[in-house]
């Protein structure tokens, strides 16, 4: 177990180094950092002085080392666009994105698992067919289109829910603003979370359905039926419990992509999170924000993957022998 964990950790660090190299190359070689920081009327001497002060004349390897060292201390430089430290900008946008992502993941689980159980237990009922049709739409339609259609139906036509922004937010300390404590904040969360979570919901539903169909055919379920256990005990106590391992893994892995896909949802709903800021950075070539966002997302992904890998081994010892891929 320990050897496995260490091997995984080394791999994770390797991935982070590669990603750091990519963001360093972006940071250093896409556009000229000096030109981005000074005005047009700055003299060549001042530019040269700034270049020297920023350490841009040092050997590239030294610069890369310094980049990693600074990134480890959460210092990602100054945004070209906002002229503020990138770390502070991201920190101010982080709560919005994390809240949206977690509520979406919760929605995906809370709706996807029961739908999957139902379609697995009654595969021939009309409701199951309807659920499957919905899931097909959830998989095929682009996220932004789902968002627009929801805005059109619920906000524009029915006028039930707000279609943009976070509503009123409350500061609960450490600079963390939450919309979970106000009515308008909660109302604003509904449409974006459905939009963001729909894909994951369909994924979870199909997964649970497939696992349930498989498990219900196994001998121990037949045996439980022969013993005369109640349907509820069989379906939930025995069958569902055994489907949950892959569900937990997939959900864990999906949290990362939810955060990345938040870029699209945040744009549709003008949600003031990291994704919207990243998109604006791409449009205006604000490299420090792009590099920092890339590193942050990579870190989240690698951490989640690492934890999920360890959990997997803890739950299913067979994997240790086979040696998971890679």
């Amino acid at each position: 177990m320990l050897a496995f964990a260490i091997r995984r950790l080394v791999q994770a660090i390797g991935v982070m180094l590669v990603v750091a190299l990519i963001s360093f190359i972006m940071f250093r070689f896409v556009g000229d950092p000096v030109n981005q920081l000074v005005g047009v009327d700055t003299s060549p001497e001042d530019r040269a002085a700034l270049r020297e002060a920023l350490g841009l004349n040092d050997p590239v390897l030294l610069q890369f080392g310094r980049f990693i060292l600074r990134a480890a201390q959460l210092d990602f430089g100054i945004s070209y666009q906002f002229k503020q430290p990138v770390a502070a900008l991201i920190a101010s946008r982080l709560p919005a994105t994390l809240e949206l992502s977690l509520v979406s993941a919760f929605f995906a689980l809370a709706v996807g698992v029961p739908m999957g159980v139902f379609t697995g237990l009654y595969p021939r009922s009309w409701a199951s067919r309807a659920f499957l049709a919905i899931s097909l739409i959830g998989v095929s339609l682009p996220t932004f289109l789902i968002g627009i259609l929801l805005i059109f139906l619920v906000s524009v036509n029915l006028g039930w829910l707000p279609s943009f922004g976070r509503g009123a937010v409350v500061d609960i300390g450490f600079g963390w603003t939450t919309g979970l404590l106000t009515t308008s904040g909660l109302q604003s969360l509904i449409l974006p979370s459905i939009t963001l979570g729909l894909f994951q919901m369909t994924l979870i539903m199909r997964l649970v359905r497939g696992e349930m169909l498989e498990v219900l055919r196994t001998d121990y379920i037949k045996f439980a039926r022969a013993r005369g256990l109640s349907r509820r005990a069989i379906n939930f106590g025995h069958a569902l419990k055994n489907t949950l391992v892959p569900v937990i893994t997939i959900t864990g892995l999906q949290v990362g992509s939810i955060i990345a896909f938040a870029i699209i949802t945040e744009t549709v709903f003008q949600w003031p999170g990291m994704g919207l800021m990243f998109l604006q950075a791409v449009q205006s070539v604000d490299i420090p924000i792009m590099a920092a966002y890339l590193l942050l997302i990579a870190f989240l992904f690698v951490t989640i993957n690492f934890i999920v890998d360890l959990l997997y081994v803890a739950v299913d010892p067979r994997i240790r022998l086979g040696g998971a891929r890679g």
Partner: protein, 319 residues
């Protein structure tokens, strides 16, 4: 699996005479005719493809010819709503462009970018997969480690990053000229991994078979063996991935264009049209965004269904 792949070279030799008969008696054709949803989605896909291909002939207006546009025609609702104009079946946008025509032309661009990026991803992925599988060793580990790292990130994020970097390198003015190339590059590069992994897996199986050994024995160069002998035998799964990826590529292009980093408004794709129309959603001009949106949904859904069916039909485990 091994039976099918071993039989393939023999079949290739006998393919020329009765292709139609072979297709008719094929069990893939049989499974196709037995699945009504697949037939419907194939017909819909074909209709959309043809109408995009012949857009200049069937579109009632030319939305890119400024001479035919009139600002007086702007914001007409669809023809059946009463306030609409019978000349514009699905209404007009803010510049007086006919929505139906912009959709037909937009679909052309969406499909062109989709096909081009799938082709690009296929060429890159298949080449790297062949190299990794056939050469093995350091080449293999380097390519597959890159694939592993890339696989951890969602495709859309990679496409966005490539796009952002291209903007920075090219500068704002010349960026407009290369935007289509950048789109194909960024979507293609975010999808190559699947091809590489699949091809590598198949090559690892193929390269120990007698025909490859024989080819090596008569002194063919590795590149010739890879391209002429191994490649034809590993292409089946590649085509399945390509079909499924086409839907994904179209969606990714639409998403990028919607986010404002894709196709410019002067030559709008479906995604750009939805983005333009989105600004008018709240003022009541819903048709500008909803009709391109529905078109995109139908296109993505039918290509997806086709890909799903193809995957199941070619998967021997499910037969």
């Amino acid at each position: 699996m091994s039976d099918a792949t071993e039989a393939a070279p023999v079949e290739t030799a006998a393919r020329a005479p009765g292709l139609v008969a072979r297709l008719r008696d094929n069990d893939i054709w049989f499974s196709f005719t037995r699945s009504p949803i697949t037939v419907i989605s194939a017909v819909v896909t074909l209709l959309l493809l043809l109408s995009a291909l012949f857009a200049p002939l069937i579109a009632p207006h030319d939305p890119f010819d400024p001479a035919t546009l009139s600002i007086m025609d702007s914001f007409f609702p669809p023809a059946w709503t009463g306030e609409g104009d019978p000349r514009f079946l699905l209404g007009t946008d803010d510049q007086g462009r006919d929505i139906l025509s912009t959709i037909l032309y937009g679909m052309r661009i969406s499909l062109a970018v989709g096909f081009a990026s799938v082709l690009f991803a296929m060429v890159v992925g298949v080449t790297l997969g062949l190299l990794a599988g056939y050469l093995g060793g350091v080449v293999d580990s380097v390519i597959m480690r890159i694939a592993d790292v890339q696989l951890t990130f969602p495709a859309i994020l990679i496409a966005l990053l490539i796009d952002g970097v291209a903007r920075g390198v090219a500068g704002p003015n010349s960026y407009q000229d290369i935007v289509f190339g950048v789109l194909v590059l960024s979507i293609g590069l975010s999808f190559w991994v699947q091809y590489a992994r699949t091809v590598r897996g198949s090559v690892l199986v193929e390269k120990n078979k007698e025909y490859v050994l024989a080819a090596r024995l008569i002194g063919l160069r590795p590149w010739t063996i890879m391209v002429k002998h191994v490649l034809p035998n590993v292409l089946g799964p590649v085509l399945v991935i390509a079909t499924i990826n086409l839907a994904l590529a179209i969606i990714t292009e639409a998403t990028l264009s919607f986010l404002g980093v894709g196709v410019p408004p002067t030559q709008p794709s479906l995604g750009t049209l939805i983005r333009i129309g989105n600004d008018f959603l709240f003022s009541g001009e819903w048709w500008i965004t909803i009709f391109p949106g529905i078109t995109l949904a139908i296109l993505a859904l039918s290509v997806n269904l086709l890909g799903d069916w193809l995957r199941d039909a070619l998967n021997p485990k499910l037969r």
